[in-house]
């Protein structure tokens, strides 16, 4: 049992992310991004230059080119097709099809011919009612999963997702479409052929424009990525909130180099700025220590500084803590970003009640599959990627019993925010609190 618990804990140390676009016209339309440079837009009204990513086409014309009205400005729908030269006149020169100047709120974008053709091609997909996203036809929805090099773990997660898909397919699928899971090595390999990506452990290179629902513990900047495991920033925010409720308000942050430095810094600045905790200059003057760094440094710190509570992350403490002397181990307050293994019944995964390796990752994978299925149902028969993302963003406190309640929104792609506070006992973690929720 012990080993099962340890392995389950270990596998949460999944992560990193990065991003770059593939489908150029779509990246440009949705995010104002082009390959190889920062595109600058000229705001014609105020003669001001601003990065195009702040004013992408979709922000005013809508993800499906539906247009809108705001502050007395009527943003037209983009339903009729544009020739390349018409598009060039509108986007670069600010002149409409009818030869009149466009409203000054329409920025001008200095696009190359190639970028313009890419944009024109993407606009045609918006105006063509028969257009279907990649990986989608009348009978199937193709969902990708990248396995990477973590093969045993990834295989276990893939099985978990397959089990969910099989169940829904046996009940005639979603609006008559069967879910098909396509495995590949990397996200880039998947980008062209799948409608969406599920439960991929390593989100590196998750392509912009392809919706992706997965664990990802880092704050994801990619606007089509949705996460189910709390970010490091949120975990540290939850630690701060908890320490403060325990009257441990003067905190000294012991920071050794770690992959979480940027996120930890952002949480710390926020905690001190909002006076949730007070920064103590010295260890001696502190009620508690916050630690980020390596597990070896953590072990040394516990030996060096007796009697003071030390707050840290499960991502740092890992499974080694269980080998440490009780008096050291018990001073730890650990933030845990998902449901604990003890909260996940193997039965909930439909796999009997034998302990199994990769339990937590399987749970997150199954939860990701459930979230994808729910959003596909909500998105309806006329499925588009944009509609699917809107459906994801309508999920409010969605219950999977495999991860904490999931809430997404147009500005909230981290579905799970906060952490459990746990203490490291001989047989695994014990919960000190209910889920400590954090919001901005």
């Amino acid at each position: 049992m012990r080993r099962g618990v340890v392995v389950a804990y270990l596998v949460l140390a999944l992560l990193p992310i990065c991003l770059f676009g593939v489908e150029p016209g779509q990246s440009l339309y949705n995010q104002g991004r082009v390959e190889g440079r920062e595109l600058m837009a000229m705001l014609r009204g105020s003669a001001t230059e601003t990065p195009a990513r702040l004013v992408p086409c979709a922000s005013c014309h809508g993800l499906r080119g539906e247009g809108t009205t705001e502050a007395g400005v009527q943003v037209p729908a983009l339903k009729s097709s544009f020739s390349d030269s018409e598009l060039s006149r509108a986007v670069i020169d600010g002149i409409g099809k009818d030869g009149r100047m466009l409203h000054p709120s329409m920025p001008s974008f200095p696009l190359t011919d190639q970028e313009l053709s890419g944009l024109a091609a993407y606009l045609r997909t918006l105006t063509d009612s028969d257009y279907r996203a990649p990986g989608l036809d009348g009978k199937t929805i193709n969902i990708g999963i990248a396995l990477g090099s973590r093969s045993e773990l990834a295989k276990a997660v893939k099985q978990a997702v397959e089990a969910e898909f099989r169940e829904i397919n046996q009940r005639s699928g979603i609006y008559g479409r069967q879910l098909h899971l396509t495995p590949a090595h990397s996200n880039q390999d998947l980008a062209k052929n799948v409608f969406a990506i599920v439960a991929t452990l390593d989100q590196a290179g998750a392509p912009a424009g392809v919706p992706s629902v997965g664990p990802v513990s880092s704050a994801a900047a990619n606007p089509s990525t949705y996460t189910l495991v709390a970010s490091v920033t949120d975990q540290i925010a939850a630690l701060g909130e908890y320490l403060s409720t325990q009257q441990l308000r003067r905190i000294h942050w012991v920071r050794a180099k770690s992959p979480f430095d940027v996120e930890a810094e952002s949480a710390w600045v926020d905690l001190t700025k909002r006076h949730i905790v007070e920064s103590s200059e010295t260890k001696a003057g502190a009620d508690a220590l916050l630690f980020t760094g390596s597990v070896t440094d953590l072990e040394r710190l516990l030996r060096e500084v007796p009697n003071v509570p030390v707050a840290t992350l499960h991502l740092i403490a890992g499974s080694k803590v269980f080998d440490w002397p009780a008096q050291d181990r018990r001073r730890l307050v650990v933030a845990y970003p998902a449901l604990l293994p003890s909260q996940i019944g193997p039965a909930a995964l439909g796999l009997g009640d034998t302990p199994m390796p990769f339990l937590v990752s399987r749970a997150v994978g199954t939860a990701a599959a459930k979230v994808v299925i729910e959003a596909l149902k909500r998105a309806g028969r006329d499925l588009t990627r944009e509609g699917f993302q809107q459906a994801l963003e309508s999920l409010h406190e969605f219950r999977t019993d495999l991860v904490p309640l999931v809430t997404f929104g147009s500005r909230r792609h981290a579905g799970v925010r906060g952490a459990y506070m746990v203490s490291a006992e001989t047989n695994g973690y014990a919960r000190l609190t209910d889920w400590v929720n954090v919001e901005d």
């Binding site: 105020s46 001001t48 920025p107």
Partner: protein, 149 residues
């Protein structure tokens, strides 16, 4: 009222009194016109930096979701520095303020793209289109500031 750093403030006493100000109306989840409005204020801030008694004010017309943290993100997006204050608060207070400034609308999306430019000392106030070139807004601010002792 609260600003982007969570500081509690009184609108007139802390922001407007004795100052020459430009006031705009935004909300942070607005994806259309608020971005050009923010960029315009950024440019105006660059043009007027170092000038004494000038203040730029962005008032949120959607106060509940626009927490100080959201205002801070908006401010950071446009490089807001000292002298550019973003304001939110209780809905009733914000509504009263907007009514007093004749900028209240029931629907947040119908919020005004107008700027209010004025000088508290001389009590000279004018309105301008929020997407006007920053240079002409600077000229209006200068004009408003004239008459200061």
């Amino acid at each position: 009222m609260v600003d982007q750093d969570g500081r509690v403030l009184r609108f007139y006493t802390d922001l407007v009194k004795d100052q020459t100000v430009a006031i705009q109306f935004i909300f942070t989840s607005c994806t259309t016109i608020c971005t050009p409005l923010g960029a315009t204020f950024h440019h105006l801030q660059e043009l007027t930096s170092g000038v004494d008694r000038r203040r730029l004010i962005s008032i949120s017309v959607d106060p509940e979701p626009d927490t100080p943290a959201e205002l801070r993100k908006f401010a950071d997006r446009f490089g807001a520095r000292n002298g550019w204050t973003l304001v939110t608060g209780e809905r009733v207070d914000i509504e009263n303020l907007l009514k007093a400034l004749r900028a209240f609308t029931q629907d947040r999306s119908a919020h005004s793209a107008m700027l209010l430019i004025g000088n508290d000392r001389t009590n000279r106030w004018t309105r301008a289109y929020g997407l006007s070139p920053a240079e002409s807004l600077r000229a209006l601010l200068r004009e408003a500031a004239q008459g200061n002792k």
